[in-house]
Amino acid sequence: MSDDAVSAEEVRHVAELARVGLTDEEVDQFTRQFADVLEYFETLDEVPEVEREADLTNVMRPDEERDSLDREEALRNAPETEDGYFKGPNVS
């Protein structure tokens, strides 16, 4: 894969969309890594054609309630909580 598969500009744009702050060094690093990742995906082109599985359609469930998680359980992985809420930094 050529070096310009992913540009530094594209990396900055994706980082901005994902609300991730990157230093210039990190931008360089991610530009190279993105290109590598995309190259791995190209390997898929070498996979031989196979029979597709039958297409599924209309997979639905009835409108019936199922148990939710206990709140304690739901909040367990959160780094910070307050009064039953997930707590995070100010957003705008």
Binding site: L69, D83, Y85, F86
Partner: protein, 498 residues
């Protein structure tokens, strides 16, 4: 669209809407968590609506049925195949960092809704309507509570995953009043379909695009056809945070004036997103980084496509407000105004038909449309507030229809007391002694009034017909207002003939 004559220098307002309506299902769109409102945060959540790794969404059949009903009601196409996409953006109200929505293959396309604006009927095009999930809700805490100055954010995912239908119209509106009429009609239709609850907080959310275009850009005299170029050339603002049809009219009237003022002063209208501040009655620029929106939509591989075009035939929908209004006019001989009032909600229309089935349809219309709705409206109540007491209202109509009490007493005393004190009509009639006074008693009062007022009698006999009114008043006083004034008038004249 009403043809309007436009002149050089005139400005025309062009508005299009995106309306989010919350669908009334028991469970969320992609998981079995309840959609019931609760004050306890993060109570109705599970791995799917929290976006935990490995959780798989499964579509709620009731949400699809509701979408098909809406499509049928607005005469939209339900395409052979429809599917879901992921809309990617990072904000804490979205636990997965993407929203499952529909993109290029929405479940409803190319529908329309007929509305009535100041007596004119017109048709608004609904370009598309699609299913999606609602995000969670955020609270911005500390620092005065404003979104920018807040110290931190609290997140509640109870609402995340509630089924929504986003309804997108063509830029067909030419005034805020038309927008309000459309939203009121849409709410009515959705309530008739039983897929929507207007009383529910946040069940209706509206984004509106508004631009002002020079009238000469319009071809011919009909303001319906706005050239795509003229529309693209004008800067538009997107007004967000509108939550009712009244709010929409206010917000858009404000925005219309703001843009027209800018243009008339030779200033440019910024293309931007503005926030409707309901309490201050103004729109405020959201100062968003005007970065091109980049949602990187891609197909939601966890949800197989839907093939439900056949459901349009299979699923029945009730008679809709417009059809019912027309039938009321034909079947019961009602005026357009009365029929409109009586079909404003399904409950009112159903109740009217119950009463009109038993008593005179005109009497029923007066009682339901004018008296009942009038008194309810005065008390800021909806018919749903007295759902369990409608039989009492029917009984009251019966008392009037069978001449047991006067219409005036029924309206002014009995109905008001029923609503204010919770008494039944028979209790009020008995306790207030409102039963129509017996004939003998009225006759006695007539004789007394004639005997006690020789001057008035003399005036009447010398040709002053107005004197009869004084005598009627005397009789009414003697009978405590429970006699029928028309009957008293007849009896008095008969008495004076002798």
């Amino acid at each position: 669209m009403t043809a309007q004559t436009v002149q050089q220098g005139d400005l025309v307002t062009v508005i299009g809407l995106e309306v989010h309506v919350q669908l009334e299902t028991d469970t969320k769109i992609f998981c079995g968590c309840s959609t019931e409102r609760t004050d306890e945060p993060n109570e109705n959540v599970c791995p799917v609506c929290l976006g935990l790794p490995g959780a798989l969404p499964v579509l709620n059949e009731a949400a699809v049925e509701a979408a098909v009903k809406i499509g049928k009601a607005i005469d939209a196409d339900i395409p052979e195949e429809t599917r879901f996409h992921r809309k990617n953006y990072y904000y804490p109200d979205l636990p997965k960092n993407f929203q499952i929505t529909q993109y290029d293959e929405p479940i409803c396309a190319d529908g329309e809704l007929e509305i009535s604006v100041e007596g004119d009927r017109r048709t608004v095009t609904v370009e598309r309507a699609h299913l999606e999930e609602d995000p969670g809700s955020l609270q911005h805490v500390g620092g005065g509570g404003g979104i920018d100055s807040a110290e931190y954010t609290l997140v509640d995912y109870n609402r995340a995953g509630t089924p929504l239908m986003e309804i997108v119209t063509a830029p067909d509106f030419r005034s805020p009043a038309e927008v309000r009429a459309f939203l009121a009609e849409l709410e009515e239709v959705l309530e008739y379909l039983g897929v929507f609850d207007a009383e529910r907080d946040g069940s209706l959310r509206i984004d509106a695009n508004l631009s002002i275009i020079p009238a000469e850009e319009i071809d011919g005299e009909d303001t319906a056809e706005i050239g795509a170029e003229a529309l693209a050339a004008a800067n538009r603002t997107e007004v967000k945070n509108i939550s009712s049809h009244k709010g929409a009219q206010k917000a858009l009237a404000y925005e219309e004036t703001r843009q027209k003022n800018a243009i008339q002063r030779g200033r440019a209208v910024e293309q931007e997103t503005r926030h409707w501040d309901e309490s201050r009655g103004i729109t405020v620029s959201m100062r968003s980084k005007e970065e091109e929106k980049d949602y990187r939509y891609f197909e939601e591989a966890d949800l197989p496509p839907l093939r439900v075009s056949g459901w349009k035939e299979e699923i029945a929908i009730p008679e809709l407000p417009t059809a019912r209004r027309e039938r009321f006019e034909d079947e019961y001989g009602l005026s357009d105004e009365a029929a409109s009032k009586l079909t404003s909600t399904k409950q009112v229309a159903d109740f009217y038909e119950d009463v009109a089935g038993e008593y005179d349809p005109d009497l029923a219309a007066t009682w339901v449309a004018d008296n009942l709705l009038g008194e309810l409206n005065y008390r800021d109540m909806e018919i749903t507030a007295i759902e369990g007491r409608l039989e009492e209202v029917t009984r009251l109509v019966e008392l009037v229809a069978t001449d047991e009490i006067t219409a005036k007493n029924a309206r002014e005393t009995v109905l008001r007391s029923m609503l204010d004190d919770g008494r039944t009509p028979d209790e009020v009639v008995a306790e207030e002694g409102l039963g129509k006074t017996g004939e003998d008693e009225v006759k006695r009062a007539v004789v007394e009034a004639v005997e006690e007022n020789p001057d008035a009698v003399a005036d009447y006999e010398s040709g002053d017909d107005g004197a009869i009114n004084f005598l009627v008043g005397q009789v009414m006083q003697k009978t405590g207002g429970s006699a029928d004034p028309g009957d008293v008038n007849q009896l008095l004249r008969a008495e004076l003939e002798d």
